[in-house]
Amino acid sequence: MTMRRFYECGSADHLISRRQALGTLAGAAVGGLGLSSLMQDAAAAEMRKKGKQVLFIWLDGGISQFESWDPKPGSPFGGPFRTIPTSVPGIHFSELVPETAKIMHKLAVVRSMCTKDPNHSTGVPRMQRGDPANRGVSYPYLGSAVTKLLGFPVNGLPPYIWIKPGSAGFIYQEAGFLGVKYGALALGDGKPPIHINRPESVTDETDAARNELRRLANARFRLDRRDSEVDAYEQSYNMAMQLMKRKELFDDSRLPAKDIERYGTHPLGRHLLQARTLLEAGVQFVKVTSYHWDTHGDNFNMSQQLIPQIDKPFAAIVNDLEDRGMLDNVIIVLMSEFGRTPTINSRLGRDHWPDAWSLVLAGAGVNRGVVVGKTTQDGAWVDGEAWDVGDLFHTIFRALGINPNKTHYNNNGQPLPIARDDCFEIDGILA
C-alpha cells in the first residue's frame, strides 16, 4: 500500500510501500496521538492485577426482543412463537433461545432499555461509545475505553481484539481522542493476521535487523510531521509481532470436535469459540460482531434461522468460562443498537425500536439470575424505570471495579467523564 500526503515532496523516498502486516489497514487521516491519561493510573494498575476481561457480543442490526429475551405471546404484537420457562422460576424466554433459557440463573437481563437513536449509522457508534455528551471530541468505543482504563495487559497480547466477518485491520478510529494505540485489532472472519507466519527464508537476525530499520525509518519520518498514521502502523506491527509468537491461538486443529459442535460451525459460533480461546490466553477485551440482524422483512422466518446462531454459542461460552473459573473475572455483554418494533409491517418484518428493548449481561460483578425492568403487557413500552446506554456504561465500568464518578479522562488537560455524568449504574445488576 502506498501513501502520499499533501505535505510530502513527492520524491521516491516518500512513496514507501508498506507491507500490510495485518491485512487491510484503514487509510484515512486521523486525529492526533492523544495525550490522554487517567487521573487514577494506580487504579488501572490495580485492575490489571485482578485480570478483569470483557467479552462484548454485538448483534448488528437489532435482535428482536420479542423473539428472544422478552417474549409477549399474548400481545397483539407478540408474534407466533411460544414462551419457554428458563432456569429461573417465573422468567420466560422465547422458544427460539432454549440454550440461553437453561442458563438464565447465570445471567442478568435488562428488559427496560430505552434509547434515543432509531438509526444504524448513528446508533451503532452511539451505543458503543456510551452515548457521550457532545464535548467536541470523538469518544472511544468501549473496547478502547477499557484498554485505557485497565491499561495494557502485561502478557503483551493485543489488549483489544475484534472478531468480525469481512475485512481485518487495525481500527484505530475506535480509540477516538485516546490515541491510536488504543484501537481495535480486527480479525477478518476470525482469521489470524495474514503475515503471522514469517517466511522461512527470513532468519531471526534478518527479522530483527529489518524491524530495526523499520523503526528507524518511522522515527525519521515522524520528524516534523504529524505522526498519527505512523503510530497506527507501528502499533499494528507490534501487535503482529506479538501474535506471531502466539500462533497457536489461531490453530483450529487444537479445538476439540465437541466444542466445535457445541458452538456451531456458522460464523458467529466459530467466532465465539475463538473468543473463548483469546480470553483464555488473556486478551483483555474481545468484541465479537455478527451482522445482518436487521429483520425488516420476513422477521419470523429469519428469526428462526438467526436466533439459534447466538443462542447456542452464547450459552456455550458462558458455561465454558464458568467451567474454567473465569466467569468471575470476565464481564459479558450481549446487545444490539436497538430492538425491533412491536408492529409488524407489510413484509411481515419488524422495524427499529429503541424505545423498549433488551440486552443480556453476565460474569464479573454482575448479579445472576435477575431480570431488571419490564415492558408493558403488549411489549411496546418500558413499564417503570427505563435505562439508557449511559447507564449501561456506568454499570460495565463499575463491574470492572472502575468508579465512573471518580475517574476521568484527561484529554490534553480537558477532563472528560468516562461515562455520561447524568447517568447511573442500572439498579439490580451489580453484585
Binding site: 407466533p80 425488516h296 434461522q305 412491536p342 407489510s346 413484509r347 411481515l348
Partner: protein, 377 residues
C-alpha cells in the same frame, strides 16, 4: 355499490369473466392482520385468519360476520373440505383443527396436535375430500383422514421446511415446495416421491447471508392439470430486508420442465405469495411489498413473462378464486400509521397493530351504474 355483488350476480345473468376488467368488489375490514382467506365451496362464505389467532367467517351476501375460537398462535393455513361442512386450519405450533364452520363459536370437531414438530405451514385437501395434506418445518408431508384426523402416511424427503402443497386435479398426485426451491411430486396412493422439480430460482443464499431467503410460497395447478405454477421471491439481496424479485414459475407438469418465468409489471420487492389459475387459463398472482407501498394483483398468460393486466393494491398474503370463477379474494395489509422506525411519542396512545381488509376482486366489467348486468328473464 348499494347492493352486494353477490346479490347482483344472483339476480342477473352471469357476467363474462374478463380479468382485464377487474375492479374492487366487497371489502371486509378487520382490526388485525390477516394472512389467509378462502371462499367456501358453495361460494356463500369467506373464512379468513392470521395474526389474531381467530377464524373469521363472513357471509358474502349480507356481510354478517362470526368467529370460530381459533388457535393458540398465528394461523398459517386454512382449507375448506370441498363437499362437506368442514374447515381445516393449521398454526405455528403444529396444530390442525377441524371445524364445523357453519356453527359460530363452535369447538373443533377434532384436533391434530403435533401435526408438525414445529410450524405447520401448508394445508391441502384431495378433491374427494377424504385426505388432508399438511407440511411444515419438520420437512415431512403428512396425510390425514378428514373424518377423524387419523394419520395415513408420512412423506419424508424435503430437506428444507415446506411452505406449500397443492393437489393435482387428477386427485392422484400432489406437489409440495420447500425453502430451498425444491418441488416434490408425490404419488398419493403409494406415498412415493415421483420426481423433484427445480424451483431453485425461488431460493437465495449468498455468501454473506446468515440465513436462507425465499422458498416456494405457493403452488397451483390449472384446471386441466397440464400446467403447474409456483411462486415466491428470487434474487434476494439480503437476509434482513429480504428484498428481491417477485417471481412465478410455470411448469409443464407432464415433462416437469419449467416453461416460463413470470414477473410483475411494477417495482415490488416481496414474494408473490399466492397464485390462482382462472377458467380461461389466465394466471393471477399477488405479492407483498416493503414499507406499506402498494403492489399489484397481476394477470398473466402463462406463456408470457409480463402481465397483460395489473391492478394496483396493497400487499397481499393469499389469493383464492370463487367457485363461480368470477371473483378473487385476498387478505390485504392496512397500515394503521404506527409503522417505521422508532416510536412517535405523540401517537403513543394510538400505537396499534396494523390491520387488514379481506378484499373481493370482481373479474368482470364493473356493472355500475345499475342496469349493466342483464337480469335473468
Amino acid at each position: 355499490m348499494s347492493e352486494s355483488t353477490d346479490s347482483l350476480l344472483k339476480d342477473a345473468l352471469p357476467p363474462v369473466m374478463e380479468a382485464a376488467k377487474v375492479h374492487l368488489g366487497q371489502t371486509f375490514t378487520h382490526e388485525f392482520q390477516l394472512t389467509r382467506a378462502r371462499f367456501s365451496p358453495d361460494g356463500k362464505l369467506i373464512a379468513a385468519a392470521g395474526l389474531d389467532k381467530l377464524i373469521h367467517v363472513w357471509e358474502l351476501e349480507s356481510g354478517k360476520k362470526y368467529t370460530l375460537p381459533g388457535h393458540a398462535t398465528w394461523i398459517s393455513a386454512l382449507v375448506f373440505h370441498p363437499q362437506g361442512k368442514q374447515l381445516f386450519t393449521a398454526d405455528f405450533h403444529g396444530t390442525i383443527h377441524c371445524w364445523d364452520f357453519a356453527t359460530p363459536d363452535s369447538k373443533p370437531v377434532f384436533t391434530i396436535t403435533g401435526a408438525d414438530a414445529n410450524i405447520t405451514r401448508a394445508l391441502a385437501i384431495t378433491l374427494d375430500g377424504a385426505t388432508l395434506l399438511s407440511g411444515g418445518d419438520d420437512r415431512v408431508v403428512r396425510l390425514w383422514s378428514t373424518k377423524d384426523g387419523a394419520k395415513l402416511k408420512d412423506l419424508p424427503g424435503h430437506t428444507g421446511c415446506i411452505f406449500s402443497i397443492a393437489v393435482h386435479p387428477d386427485g392422484k398426485s400432489a406437489a409440495s415446495g420447500d425453502l430451498f426451491g425444491v418441488l416434490k411430486h408425490w404419488d398419493l396412493a403409494t406415498g412415493n416421491c415421483v420426481r423433484d422439480l427445480d424451483a431453485k430460482a425461488l431460493h437465495t443464499r449468498k455468501e454473506e447471508f446468515i440465513a436462507d431467503v425465499g422458498g416456494v410460497r405457493c403452488i397451483t395447478f390449472d384446471t386441466t392439470g397440464g400446467l403447474m405454477a409456483c411462486s415466491g421471491l428470487s434474487a434476494a439481496e439480503s437476509a434482513t430486508f429480504c428484498p428481491g424479485i417477485p417471481l412465478a414459475l410455470v411448469f409443464d407438469w407432464s415433462t416437469g420442465k419449467e416453461k416460463q418465468q413470470l414477473k410483475l409489471a411494477n417495482k415490488c420487492d416481496g414474494p408473490i405469495n399466492a397464485l390462482r389459475f382462472l377458467a380461461d387459463g389466465t394466471l393471477a398472482g399477488y405479492a407483498e411489498n416493503q414499507g406499506g407501498t402498494a403492489t399489484e394483483l397481476a394477470f398473466w398468460k402463462p406463456d408470457k413473462a409480463e402481465p397483460f393486466h395489473s391492478f394496483k393494491g396493497q400487499s397481499a398474503y393469499d389469493l383464492d378464486l370463487h367457485p363461480d370463477g368470477l371473483r378473487l379474494l385476498a387478505p390485504l395489509f392496512v397500515s394503521m400509521g404506527s409503522g417505521g422506525n422508532g416510536a412517535r411519542d405523540k401517537q403513543k396512545a394510538k400505537y396499534v397493530p396494523n390491520s387488514s381488509v379481506v378484499q373481493v376482486f370482481n373479474l368482470f366489467a364493473d356493472p355500475k351504474p345499475a342496469g349493466k348486468l342483464k337480469k335473468k328473464s
